[in-house]
């Protein structure tokens, strides 16, 4: 993950957020947040009270006192607005900085006539490139927009997007054909087809999402808002009924005291920070280089029960590699290695290339006359080369067994034993024959990523089940699954197997996340509750999923789950904190309301606050400044620790519940010591 904008508050962002804090005072906007809207009404009433006092009213206390209450209430509103605005500004800045790289870069547009490319290249601004057009990129060029390589291969520096400094190779055909705008070509040249219309990229959609207009409340946010609105209603009842109670006890209460009590009691802290928390969740995803298509997706990620992970790239490093040549009895090892290498010269698969690497023979040793390369077909399930009188074939053991036995030759027992051996150790055996006689076995092995076991252990503690998806045979799959520590695996997986597995899990009520890149992953990506498409993947896959990972990093799913959990936890802990705060506020304000008429209630003033006015002011001031103090926590999120649900609850209850009760006692007392100098 790249450290972009590490500082929480940057100058220009703060300036923009400050302006927005005032703009958001518009009651139409405030109305979306019921808790803060009631504060807005309270502030408005205080404004009228102040005007009333200016016209000569004497029953409501001094003008200065009322004015301070008004100002503090206004600040409470502004702080809450600021929290939302700064979260929006940060998200937008993050998305914009990504978007900026793709605007106004010169693009080398290749004109086409029908299916033909013209040789001439015209330089145009990147924003003019339309979907379906082609452009050329050479060494040193910035790729102007998202696209798919149709011709060539290039090393590309994607650090602008991913923060990863090591260059990657992108080539035409296959799953690595996609390029992202803003990245830089380091060597070679490629022809690229544009895949998105200008202004319709995922980033553009994400920016719209952060900007509020298209931001919808997520289901959990709605439920929480109901809870908060409920608490607000309780305190409306408490405060309204307090008026007749106080009259009955002959204790007049000023309007300022009433409104202060009310504003302090309603959960303004969480009410003010709620939307900031949601936006920050999306922003955190973006910082992890994941573009989310909705806030709901992030929330759902926290609930994921089952994670489908592709073996290749997630659990193992890249593809299988040849690790051993096992010559058959009576065959010279060197001869076997040469034959094995010959059979792989034309083999473009990563496995084939790794055989050549392992053989490490000089190219001239592999020069033969008039070689005829035999391609792999589903029917023969083997490939190889013919030259002169020699026919070399390489393939799965059953395919080669059929080949040799059809020719009347026996399949050697010791080779069969080796094949079983390799399979049960998680390797893949490839048997090589020469003129229909078995000459040996090539062992291919997966290399499991270092540290992956710990990550799966962490997931298990979170309650997430991991499932490895692989095209390997069940034996190999089982071996790797055990070695890597995943909970389940799908062997010999076809795209529909993934789909069926997801459906079966969902049938049991589980939420499933998966990552995919190919077009054939699209249905499963759409079916999964959280579908993360790799940015290098096909357009179809990106459209089907609800997130796009710019890094193409399959382990990113784990991070996404943690971001989701963090989002929910931040909401929960701040709600608890906010409500727990009320205990101290009661002990500050309630005695202050009645002490004048019922001096005995001094016994309730356990904080020993200076005077009723200073007690009330201290409580509202504390209530206001706690919001900006918690903005960093809301934006960063509460740290998630995979220690099991009960332990986590205990920890958060202790920090935010007990802390929420104690902190305001100290805070209000300290403020009172200052305010008490004047009141």
């Amino acid at each position: 993950m790249k450290a972009q904008n590490t500082s929480l508050f940057q100058g220009d962002l703060i300036r923009e957020a400050l302006v927005q804090s005032f703009v958001k005072l518009n009651p139409k906007i405030m109305f979306r947040n019921p808790v803060m809207f009631t504060v807005w009404i309270g502030t408005f009433v205080m404004l009228i009270v102040n005007i009333w006092i200016l016209t000569g009213e004497r029953s409501q206390g001094s003008l200065l006192y009322n004015l301070i209450v008004l100002v503090v209430l206004l600040l409470t509103l502004l702080f809450a607005n600021f929290a939302e605005a700064i979260a929006e500004a940060r998200g937008k800045a993050q998305a914009n900085s990504l978007r900026k790289t793709r605007e106004e870069t010169p693009a080398k547009w290749i004109r086409t006539v029908g299916e033909m490319y013209l040789d001439e290249v015209q330089v145009v601004p990147s924003s003019q490139l339309q979907k379906g057009q082609f452009f050329l990129c050479e060494t040193g060029d910035i790729i102007p927009t998202d696209g798919e390589i149709v011709e060539g291969l290039a090393t590309i520096d994607e650090s602008a997007i991913t923060g990863e400094s090591a260059p990657v190779i992108r080539e035409a055909g296959g799953d690595k054909s996609s390029v992202t705008g803003g990245t830089k070509v380091l060597s070679d040249r490629i022809k690229v087809k544009v895949t998105t219309e200008p202004g319709e990229s995922f980033l553009d959609k994400m920016i719209a999402l952060v900007e509020g207009a298209s931001r919808q409340k997520t289901p959990n946010e709605i439920a929480l808002t109901i809870l908060l609105a409920g608490f607000t209603l309780v305190f409306i009842i408490v405060c309204i009924t307090l008026k007749p109670f106080a009259d009955f006890a002959n204790t007049p209460i000023t309007i300022a005291a009433f409104i202060s009590l009310f504003v302090c009691l309603i959960p303004t802290t969480i009410g003010g920070l709620l939307s900031a928390i949601g936006i920050a969740g999306m922003d955190r995803a973006l910082r992890a280089n994941v573009i989310t298509k909705s806030g709901k997706a992030v929330e759902t990620a926290g609930d994921i029960d089952t994670l489908l992970l592709d073996k290749t790239g997630t659990i193992t490093i890249g593809n299988r590699k040849a690790t051993h040549f096992w010559a058959a009895n009576g065959i010279e090892p060197d001869e076997f290695i040469k034959s094995a290498a010959l059979s792989s010269i034309a083999d473009e698969t990563p496995e084939g290339k790794s055989i050549l690497e392992l053989a490490a023979l000089a190219p001239e040793k592999l020069r033969v006359e008039n070689p005829v390369f035999i391609e792999f077909t589903a029917e023969t399930r083997s490939s190889g080369v013919d030259f002169r009188e020699t026919r070399i074939r390489k393939g799965a053991s059953d395919a080669i067994r059929r080949l040799t036995e059809n020719a009347g030759n026996a399949f050697p027992e010791e080779t069969a034993a080796k094949v079983r051996d390799i399979s049960s150790n998680g390797g893949t055996p490839l048997v090589v024959s020469e003129n229909e006689r078995v000459i040996g076995v090539i062992e291919l092995q997966d290399v499991i990523k270092p540290g992956i076991q710990e990550r799966f252990e962490r997931l298990r503690k979170m309650g997430v089940k991991t499932v490895m998806v692989t095209g390997d045979n069940p034996l190999t799959a089982k071996y790797i699954a055990e070695k890597a520590g995943v909970d389940d695996y799908i062997a010999e997986a076809r795209p529909e197997d993934k789909m069926n597995y997801i459906k079966a899990e969902q049938q049991k009520g589980k939420l499933v996340a998966m990552m995919g890149d190919g077009t054939n992953d699209a249905p499963a990506l759409a079916q999964a509750d959280v579908g993360v498409a790799m940015n290098s993947g096909t357009q179809a896959a990106k459209e089907a999923g609800n997130m796009v990972d710019l890094d193409n990093d399959p382990t990113k799913l784990i991070e996404i789950v943690e971001i989701g959990k963090q989002l929910l936890m931040t909401r929960g802990t701040l709600t608890t904190f906010s409500i727990a705060n009320d205990v101290a506020k009661y002990f500050a304000i309630v005695p202050a309301l009645f002490i004048a008429s019922i001096p005995a209630l001094q016994g309730l003033n356990i904080m020993g606050l200076h005077s009723p006015e200073s007690a009330i002011l201290s409580a509202v001031i504390f209530n206001a400044i706690i919001i900006p103090l918690l903005i960093p926590l809301a934006l960063k999120g509460v740290a998630y620790k995979p220690i099991g649900a009960s332990a986590l609850l205990r920890r958060n209850l202790l920090i935010y519940g007990l802390g929420g009760i104690l902190v305001p006692f100290a805070g209000i007392k300290v403020i009172d010591m200052v305010v008490g100098l004047w009141f």
């Binding site: 009842i237 007749p244 006890a249």
Partner: protein, 562 residues
């Protein structure tokens, strides 16, 4: 240890020890398993079903349950109004008590139908024996209604994804015949042996030592008093309730009646665990309830034992505690214990005058009713607690980073809405009604026994008792006026049925949701940590809602006395 306190501990411990196996029996009843009583009661129930055309096999969803519940309660209401308004000329009226006025009958019937049993009349003069018998019937069925509703909630917990939750009439009838009736019978026998009268004769008379002839009211008391406690109803046969020597003659009957009222509410908690095969959950719920209960009982017992400082100042010996308004035969400590048990459990029967208790005890009694979920009434306790569980699950679910779920069912906006409405209702009714009372002194001022803070407490207590469906009174209040009869009646209806409808609806909605299997990330509800969470939610919601009002009542009184 003080023998008075020993008596309390003995009753409390015995109740819990017997409630656990009885909880297992209750679970069996609701699960439809065979029990010993099948032999005797099976045919009786079948006769009921046949006569009333109830088809036990047809299970109901939550909406059908609620409509059955509300319909049958409506029938009882109209029947009750008829009996009480016409008892003067109906049979079984040897004392010639008059028919009740419409508004008193309204208040009485409502309060018995809703298991509150707030009484604005005195049994000696206010009802005939027919009236008493009908009220006794209501004490059975109102308790049965609450238990059946709680049973639906418990059943809904178990069903993985289903909307059929048993048959309401069967659950209700079985609650009466299999649970309330046998326990009441046992209690009745003990009361009879201790001299509680059981007769349909009119007033008895005796010649006192001064030589005057004294008329004494009696009646079928031994039949009436057991269900008053077993069903956590609390409606007394006589005006003085369980302080009356015919309802509660001695320390033994006092212990038995105490046992009777706590027995089924505690057993219901364990029944939940046995039924769901989650006994640990029962212990967590029981633990939370017991801690809450003890936090109210202990200060009350001690503040009563300490005696009234104002009386001590006059040079009077207070070594036996604050004895004003208490029966010497029960003692100060037991009366204090009873006052909290009866308010926590929504029985509302009294053996001492709550108006005379120390301010801190009055505070504890009101807090007990404001919480209304530490044990709570039969059935109703579980229902009220359920709402707190929902709220606690929601908050703690978020705190562990998952969208909240209870027993594998997601809690979403709709359930939160219902839970919040129910949670809001109690403070709304108590505070709004009291506020109305204080602003209309023309109706209330004359009925108060005391001025100032204590007068305010009297009003607050009356509405708290109504809203908690408790039925006890602070007893300083002159409450048989149209104002109190009607305003309390309205509070009673709202506070009884919405808190039943809410939990049953939530349970029904959750039952039909998809079940999510448990994982390591799932918050477990049967842990001590979650227990602390529930306790915190209950304490904070109650404290936050009522603190200002209590400040102007008992708290101000307490500090003024210091």
């Amino acid at each position: 240890m003080n023998t008075e306190i020993l008596g309390i501990v003995f009753v409390f411990a015995t109740t819990i020890a017997l409630a656990i196996p009885f909880g297992k029996y209750i679970a069996k009843i609701y699960a439809g398993e065979r029990t010993l009583l099948d032999l005797i009661l099976g045919p009786v129930e079948k006769l009921f079903y046949k006569l009333s055309g109830i088809r036990v096999q047809s299970e109901m969803n939550w909406k059908q349950h609620l409509s059955a519940l509300l319909t049958i309660n409506m029938v009882w209401f109209f029947l009750g109004m008829f009996v009480l308004m016409n008892q003067g000329w109906l049979p079984l009226n040897p004392d010639g008590n008059p028919s009740q006025s419409a508004e008193l009958a309204f208040n009485t019937t409502i309060s018995f139908v809703v298991n509150c049993n707030l009484q604005h009349y005195s049994g000696e003069t206010g009802v005939s024996y027919l009236g008493q018998l009908f009220l006794m019937f209501l004490q059975f069925v109102s308790a049965g209604t609450g238990m059946a509703a709680a049973a639906v909630v418990i059943i809904a917990f178990r069903e993985r994804s289903a909307d059929k939750l048993g048959n309401f009439y069967e659950l209700m009838i079985k609650s009466c015949t299999r649970i309330l009736l046998p326990v009441s019978l046992v209690v009745a026998v003990i009361l009879l042996l201790n001299g509680v009268p059981m007769t349909f004769e009119g007033k008895d008379s005796f010649v006192s030592m001064q030589g005057d002839t004294v008329q004494v009211s009696t009646g079928p008391v031994a039949a009436f008093v057991p269900i008053k406690h077993v069903g956590t109803n609390g409606g007394g046969f006589f005006g003085a309730n369980s302080a009356h020597p015919f309802e509660n003659p001695n320390y033994v009957t006092n212990m038995v009646e105490m046992f009777a009222q706590m027995f089924i509410p505690i057993a219901m908690v364990f029944a939940l665990g046995f039924y769901l095969k989650k006994r640990k959950l029962s212990w967590v719920i029981f633990g939370v309830m017991t801690i809450g209960f003890l936090l109210l009982v202990v200060p009350t017992v001690f503040s009563e034992l300490k005696g009234n400082p104002a009386i001590a100042e006059m040079g009077i010996d207070v070594s036996s505690g604050a004895t004003e308004g208490k029966e010497i035969r029960f003692g100060t400590a037991f009366s204090a214990f009873w006052s909290i048990a009866t308010t926590v459990i929504s029985t509302g029967s009294i053996n001492a005058m709550h108006d005379s208790f120390m301010p801190m005890s009055g505070l504890a009694q009101m807090l007990a009713m404001m919480t209304n979920a530490f044990y709570g009434g039969v059935g109703a306790g579980i229902l009220n607690f359920y709402i707190f569980i929902i709220l606690a699950v929601f908050m703690s679910g978020l705190m562990v980073g998952r969208t909240p779920e209870l027993m594998g069912k997601k809690i979403e906006a709709r359930e939160m809405k219902i839970a919040m409405i129910v949670a809001l209702l109690h403070p709304l009714l108590i505070l709004a009604a009291t506020a109305l009372g204080t602003t209309l002194p023309q109706y209330t001022a004359g009925t108060l026994n005391n001025p100032g803070f204590h007068g305010f407490s009297e009003m607050l207590y009356e509405y708290t008792s109504s809203s908690a469906n408790n039925g006890s009174g602070f007893e300083g209040l002159g409450d048989n006026t149209p104002w109190w009869n009607i305003s309390c009646g309205i509070v009673l209806i709202l506070s009884r049925f919405l808190p039943i409808i809410g939990p049953v609806a939530i349970a029904g909605i959750l039952a039909s949701k998809k079940h999510i299997p448990e994982s390591a990330g799932t918050l477990k509800t049967d842990t001590g940590t979650f227990g602390i969470m529930i306790f915190a939610v209950i304490a904070i919601i109650t404290a936050l809602s009522f603190f200002p009002a209590l400040t102007l009542g008992p708290i101000a009184e307490y500090f003024s006395m210091k």
